[in-house]
């Protein structure tokens, strides 16, 4: 039955019935909610071919996960397929009874779930979780043969076979994702649906896992649907891409067509908002800013070390962990610059941000602000430091206290720093700040955080920083959780603050592509140590340290022509 692996064949041909493994016809999915019916998927038509890697791209809320769940019939109680059909081979999945559905699930259609971190049963050993699909679908008990088979499968996705005796929490994120892939291919299904399979992984691991996925897919000759929001990643992995927006497929095409000749406006926007590693706007930096010495630097971190962990008490051994190891970073104030501190999770970059902001104390070394150790400031120095050093954070959901309206964010700042007298003056100040981020007071005032969109909230945070007109902003992953369109806007805002207000930035990120676009200086951290520093051109185009090299190599390019 199965056709041999031949991923690129027939790409430009229209699907004929024999080659189509999955076919969606005018699929509609509706959610019942308190406010009415939500059309999450509207009239989707789609044909997936045998052996094809098919990408579905879209921003959050575009309905792509609902689509996946509809195919697998895993929609929650409140949702239902209101129209259309889902044909898997000749079977209409949308009308299948539970028994047949269970029979079909996993043996013929497998899923690689979105949140691999939480998709494994936390109280069951990995081996058992794989074995139970074998038991359910093949009726085989967990014996030596099955165990050997599982070990082989685990090895085929690059894991040590002994992993089967571990619990999920004993695995790293990448390993868990591989376990999910191993689980998905256990029964050699015809179709694998991978829902953002690498979204929570660091770039290096993401690349390895994506490669593994492509590898096993080609080996099996199965079709795969890749869901994702990262156009670059999809460009590197899929043959064809469908662009989804607000429940509709706005464009389906060959990956090169999509990248080079996007037709739909939405697609164009997506493509244009992608940060590129190929070229950047150059910015003139006066040599004085680069020279050592001279004026006192605005921020001067000297050999900052941070050690976490217990010193080892009565019953526990010492479990120390060095998050930062003698990190020295200097930020001049005379010429505003964006200094990027980049690294993977666990590199110590957020710890550094916390120390600079005074939330944590270094175990060794010191951070000087305007020449004063921030741990030993006088009251007035501290007041100035708080006023001049501000931050923008990662998560637009957590920056607001849910019990207050969003204006309290501004009012507290105005009040504590005595920025204005009286309500009118306060309002004028706040309005000015809102205008900078293109928000009108009417849109946001008197509203609770959950009444605003993520973008509005993120912009409000930038507005708050602007309100104080700080000298230095620590931007801790400000765009890692936002959609492409908003990402562009935030980065632009940062640039304009730098250029118009003269604010310096410490930009903490794992995303070297944006760093390349916005920074004046890039520092790469690995396990608490600085492994590379220099201008964006130096670091990205000509990395010296092997770690930096692997990091940069792992960045998927949105251009499918550039091999990954």
């Amino acid at each position: 039955m199965r056709t041999p692996a031949n991923g690129t064949r027939n790409l430009l041909q229209s699907a004929d019935d024999r080659d189509t493994i999955l076919s969606l016809n005018d699929l509609h999915v509706e959610y019942a909610s308190a406010t009415g019916t939500i059309h999450a998927v509207r009239g989707v038509n789609l044909d997936i071919r045998r052996g094809e890697r098919f990408g579905i791209a879209g921003e959050s809320g575009s309905g792509k996960t609902t689509l996946v769940n509809a195919i697998l019939r895993l929609l929650p109680e409140t949702a239902q397929i209101s129209a259309g059909s889902i044909h898997f081979n000749d079977i209409d999945l949308s009308r299948l009874d539970n028994r047949s559905l269970n029979f079909l699930r996993w043996s013929r259609i497998a899923l690689i779930p979105q949140g691999s971190m939480s998709s494994l049963n936390p109280v069951m050993k990995v081996g058992h979780q794989i074995a139970e699909v074998i038991k359910t679908h093949e009726g085989k008990r967990y014996n030596k043969d099955v165990r050997d088979r599982i070990e082989r499968i685990l090895e085929s996705v690059g894991l040590d076979g002994r992993v089967l005796n571990l619990y999920p929490h004993e695995l790293s994120g990448g390993m868990k994702q591989r376990v999910c892939i191993a689980m998905a291919i256990t029964l050699e299904p015809e179709l694998i649906i991978a829902d953002e399979p690498t979204s929570s992984l660091d770039v290096v691991v993401q690349r390895q896992v994506a490669k593994t996925l492509i590898d096993v897919q080609e080996r099996l000759g199965a079709s795969i649907i890749l869901i994702g929001h990262d156009m670059a990643l999809l460009a590197q992995t899929a043959h064809r891409i469908a662009i989804m927006n607000e429940g509709e497929l706005v464009e389906i095409d060959n990956v090169r067509e999509i990248y080079h000749r996007p037709r739909h406006r939405y697609t164009q926007m997506l493509i244009n908002s992608l940060p590129s590693l190929e070229h950047r706007e150059e910015r003139d930096i006066p040599p004085v800013a680069r020279a050592d010495g001279g004026a006192t630097p605005l921020l001067d971190a000297q050999a900052v070390t941070k050690v976490f962990g217990y010193k080892g008490h009565l019953f526990a051994k010492s479990t120390e962990f060095t998050a930062l190891d003698e990190v020295s970073i200097e930020v001049t104030g005379d010429f505003p610059m964006v200094t990027t501190i980049a690294g993977e999770s666990g590199s110590g970059k957020s710890t550094f941000a916390n120390i600079v902001l005074g939330f944590a104390k270094p175990s060794g070394g010191a951070v000087y602000y305007r020449g004063k150790d921030i741990a030993r400031q006088s009251r007035s120095e501290f007041a100035q430091y708080r006023r001049e050093v501000q931050a923008i954070f990662q998560d637009p959901y957590e920056i607001f206290n849910p019990v207050y309206t969003v204006d309290s964010l501004f009012r507290v700042a105005v009040k504590k720093f005595k920025l204005a007298r009286g309500n009118d003056e306060t309002m004028a100040l706040i309005e000015e700040a809102l205008r900078v981020v293109n928000l009108s007071p009417e849109q946001v005032f008197g509203k609770y955080p959950d009444e605003l969109s993520g973008g509005q909230r993120q912009r409000l945070m930038v507005a708050r920083a602007y309100l104080l007109k700080p000298k230095l902003i620590v931007a801790d992953e400000p765009v890692s959780m936002v959609d492409a369109s908003l990402r562009l806007m935030i980065l632009d805002l940062m640039k304009s603050l730098r250029d118009e207000l003269g604010t310096s930035f410490v930009y903490i990120t794992h995303d070297l592509a944006t760093a390349y676009q916005i920074s004046d200086q890039i520092i790469i951290l690995n396990r608490g140590k600085i492994v590379e520093r220099g201008t964006p051109e130096e670091v990205i185009k000509n990395p010296q340290h092997p770690y930096s090299q692997s990091l940069i190599q792992a960045i998927p390019s949105p251009n499918p022509d550039i091999k990954w």
Partner: protein, 335 residues
């Protein structure tokens, strides 16, 4: 499951501290209170119709005999050292009966009553809580379990009295008190076993009815959380059978906080059960404790409370030590 020594040691340390604190509170408070236990003993003899001559002499003699004449610190030290050896000396009001004998006579009844009722109530409550979510018994299901919830909000001892009224006085289905049929021997025969079960039925029912609702609520909300989890979605996608998902995914995960709560609730369950025992004249620790309180029988109060605290703390310790086996994620350092 390998348990780090530090985890076990920490649990054990906390066990010891809990027992020590409870034992100390128990030692100090009665002694701070006014009144003289020996005097109480004499008073009771008097109320029983005996004329006590020279009570001052008698009291002094007994004070010496029970070591109540030493300094408070000496009494405390000797109390703690003997408590460790489970020796509480003799009952003040039932001299020379050793306190440990009184406790050992009654303890099996209390532990039996508690063990059976906790097991039943935990199992029933947990299972129902999981089932009403899993089987998607919505509003009609609430109607099914609402009586249990309402009963759960009524104290055990009030339930005990209602049950006594309905099932013993009105319907005469169950005996009104005690643990054995009158006149029956206490040998282990089937007939005796049935009698013991019949006598235990009402006390157990009051504890079960009063506490099952709490387990149900807890399990219900945890099950809802679990059914929304990613791993449950994946389990469904894997085409596993409903039974398998229910047992290995839903129950196994949702039960974890229940087990933690079981350890926390142990103390209040025991406290409530003591009252239930009093209502049903059940020959457990409850009625002895109550009488010891009335008699100001320090040694018995101390012994009984110590024993119960020890039982509760041991149960908690066992739950804690078993917990990692249920939940492999347990973080030994943070605990």
């Amino acid at each position: 499951m390998r348990l780090p020594v530090s985890y076990i040691a920490k649990r054990f340390l906390s066990f010891v501290v809990v027992v020590w604190v409870a034992a100390s509170v128990n030692f100090i408070v009665p002694r701070m209170a006014p009144g003289d236990p020996i005097g109480a003993m004499v008073a009771r003899m008097e109320l029983q119709g005996e004329v006590i001559e020279d009570s001052a002499e008698l009291i002094a003699a007994y004070r010496e005999k029970f070591g109540l004449d030493g300094s408070l610190w000496d009494q405390y030290v000797s109390y703690l050292t003997s408590a460790v050896q489970f020796d509480f000396g003799h009952s003040l009001s039932y001299f020379p009966r050793p306190v440990s004998d009184i406790i050992l006579d009654a303890l099996p009844y209390t532990l039996g009553l508690l063990a059976v009722s906790i097991i039943i109530s935990f199992t029933v409550g947990t299972l129902l809580g999981a089932l009403i979510v899993w089987l998607k018994i919505g509003r009609s299901g609430i109607g099914l379990v609402a009586p249990l919830l309402l009963l759960g909000s009524i104290p055990q001892y009030l339930l005990a009295i209602i049950l006594l009224f309905v099932f013993s006085f009105a319907l005469r289905w169950f005996p009104s008190g005690g643990a054995h049929a009158l006149g029956a021997s206490h040998d282990f025969t089937l007939a005796n076993f049935i009698e013991v079960a019949r006598h235990g039925a009402l006390p157990i029912m009051s504890i079960v009815l009063a506490s099952a609702g709490g387990w149900l609520i807890g399990m219900r909300s945890m099950t809802i959380t679990v059914t929304r989890s990613d791993y449950l979605t994946l389990a469904k996608a894997k085409g596993l059978s409903q039974l398998r998902i229910f047992y290995h995914y839903v129950i196994r995960n949702a039960i974890l906080p229940q087990v933690t709560n079981l350890a926390i609730a142990m103390g209040s369950i025991v406290g409530g059960a003591i009252l239930v025992e009093v209502v049903f004249t059940y020959p457990g620790l409850g009625s002895h404790l109550l009488r010891a309180i009335n008699n100001q029988d320090f040694t018995v109060i101390q012994g009984m409370t110590y024993t119960l605290v020890l039982s509760v703390a041991s149960a908690v310790l066992i739950v804690d030590l078993l917990y990692p086996w249920l939940d492999p994620r347990i973080n030994y350092e943070d605990q």
